[in-house]
């Protein structure tokens, strides 16, 4: 089976390239005439390529190097657990032709510290890859360290006028709101996993057709580690100064999923929302659907203070006691149960003290599970491409049963971008 799917991928790529060659061949004559006309008046054709005016190289390479020190504190007098992560990310993009683009992004992470010795499964957890093809490897590991190389984007894109198809590991982001994303059924991520800025990708094929400058139709099919298929369509359009979207499909071959989402404004502030129903296909009529909903409002004041509120509802009754572990374990995260059940409220206030320094304080409260989270952060730009962040995540509860697992994590991160 894995062999077969690889052949299908290869065949699709060859097919797309052939189509492109043919299309370019027939377009060449037309272009020659157009170019002659354009060169007379410095014209730019209405395409993404601005090379008519400025000659560009057809590839790009960028990324960053980060070092993050983590301290996990259960009790202030108890043992503190520390670990350090040296993290390099490389993004490579090649604009092969006007129609074809290739992208490869990979990350190299070296973890070392106490946490490795305390939780022996930590190395497996770092190597975890939910994709159809495993592209995450622990190159070396020992009692106190692990070095991992992972590819989280590798795709080939073909665009012909308003049609676009992308094949390979990619991020299919259908989300609108900030913290919880019921419409993000392809690559669920955790808000707490802030250091994974790019968020995970999916092994998928994605067809997009842009019906107008601000609307599109989309179909995406992905296969995960267990060869379960998620296939869904999206239609997004713009009306009354709102972006609206509807989604429908099958989630991991087990549930019918229907959802809506929007992004607009009320009283000049951003008003966004997402809702999704997951109905199990097995015993379709006898089972109750899982309903997820998030609604967000944000407002920026004249003095640049930014406030943001998000309410989330999760009807999934699956045990959420291990929420903290789930949030950091990509293997346990899933679109049907992205956070604690019941209602959760998120509030955030941030302020750029100067253009170089920004401070923020966020909180999450979930009354059904008697839990709350306090998330302060401080970022300073040291140089044009060098940032220092101090971030804390404090997880607390009133519930004596889980009180013991309450903890505060402090992260100090230095990031240099190139």
């Amino acid at each position: 089976m894995p062999g077969t799917s690889r052949y299908i991928l290869l065949l699709l790529i060859i097919l797309l390239m052939t189509v492109d060659c043919i299309a370019r061949g027939s377009a060449r004559e037309q272009n020659d005439t157009l170019d002659a006309a354009h060169s007379r008046d410095n014209a730019v054709t209405p395409s993404a390529d601005s090379s008519a005016v400025i000659k560009e190289k057809n590839w790009s390479f960028n990324g960053y190097v980060k070092d993050m020190q983590t301290v996990i504190i259960h009790k202030i007098d108890g043992p503190w657990v520390t670990d350090n992560l040296i993290h390099n990310r490389n993004n490579f993009k090649w604009n092969i032709s006007k129609s074809f683009t290739f992208c490869l992004e990979e990350r190299n992470r070296f973890y070392w510290g106490d946490i490795m010795a305390i939780s022996p499964q930590y190395a497996d957890f770092i190597a975890y890859d939910n994709g159809l093809v495993n592209m995450s490897w622990n190159i070396v590991s020992g009692k106190s360290y692990v070095f991992n190389i992972a590819i989280d984007r590798v795709w080939l894109d073909y665009t012909h006028e308003k049609f676009q198809v992308t094949l390979g590991r990619q991020r299919i982001n259908w989300s609108q709101t900030f913290v919880w994303n019921p419409n993000d059924i392809f690559n669920t991520y955790s808000y707490f996993d802030f250091d994974y800025e790019e968020k995970p990708g999916s092994d998928a094929v994605r067809f997009q057709y842009f019906t107008s400058p601000s609307s599109k139709a989309e179909i995406a099919v992905k296969a995960d580690k267990d060869r379960k298929i998620t296939a869904a369509g999206l239609y997004r359009f713009n009306h009354w100064k709102y972006d609206f979207q509807g989604i429908a499909g099958v989630y991991t071959q087990s549930d019918l999923v229907l959802g809506i989402g929007w992004a607009g404004q009320i009283a000049k502030g951003g008003f966004k929302g997402e809702m999704s129903f997951f109905q199990p296909l097995k015993n379709f009529l006898d089972t109750t659907a899982v309903f997820l909903s998030s609604i967000e409002y944000d407002y920026t004041f004249r003095n640049s203070i930014f406030i943001q509120f998000e309410g989330f509802y999760n009807s999934n009754a699956t045990n959420s006691a291990n929420v903290l572990i789930n949030q950091f374990n990509p293997g346990l995260l899933n679109a049907k149960n992205p956070f604690l059940n019941g209602f959760s409220i998120f509030a955030n206030i941030s302020y750029p003290v100067t253009p170089l320094i920004s401070i923020a304080l966020a909180g999450i409260y979930n009354p059904s599970n008697l839990m709350y989270f306090i998330l302060p952060s401080f970022t300073v730009s040291l140089m044009n491409n060098l940032d220092l962040s101090l971030i804390a995540q404090s997880f607390q509860s009133y519930d004596p049963a889980i009180y013991g697992s309450c903890q505060t994590s402090i992260f100090i991160r230095l990031k240099g971008s190139f």
Binding site: V44, A48, K162, I172, S175, P213, Q265, K268, R302, P355
Partner: protein, 249 residues
Amino acid sequence: MKKAILAILMFAALYNANAQGLSAKEIVQKADDKNRGLTSQGTMTMTVVRPDWSRTITMKSWSKGKDYSLVLITAPAKDKGQVFLKIKTEMWNWVPSIDKTIKIPPSMMLQSWMGSDFTNDDLVKQSSIVVDYSHKLLGKEKVREMECYKIEMIPLPDAAVVWGRVIMWITVTGFDQWMTEYYDEDNKLVNVGNSYDIRHMGDRDIPTRIELEPRNKKGQKTIMQIDNIKFNISVDEAFFSLQNMKKIK
């Protein structure tokens, strides 16, 4: 240099002949048309200057009329690839690393853009110096050697403008926005904008450096340098789309 002066003088004669009896609105209209062109494409460097430090952002921009504009950030590295798209009164931000299109609400439009003294609104020219204000010609004044029309602009009641009043000095010879004072609703002077370095860009001579200085903050300013710009290029409305936003380079 002699040639440039001659050219300016010739322009001056030409414009002067045409400018006789222009109303305040017509002068502003001419200045706006000149600055904007029907369409434009350029590359710019913005430098945020503070007493102890400075930061530089470079970008490419495309525009068509006052309804369409697209800005691609090309540096610094951490923001590279971000795109801002404006279609009529709506604005979107494309963040390529997470494949997310974020719709920018109006309250965010008036926020400082990427830490500078410019707002999102200044950048994509959401509001129009022609349509959103009433204009009054206060006379002529010399500003940094240039003879200018001094025009008072008061925002119309329902216009999405942050200012209470704007005074603009527009050069008589070239219809360039040479100096601008921005007052808040309490008639307190907030920002002063100055233009410098008239150079030939595309088909016209324009100031290529604009400095915006907040009045009450010493040693603080934002410099917008036009590295190159072309006007009246042929660019379709379809260029300004969510699809192209993700493909632009």
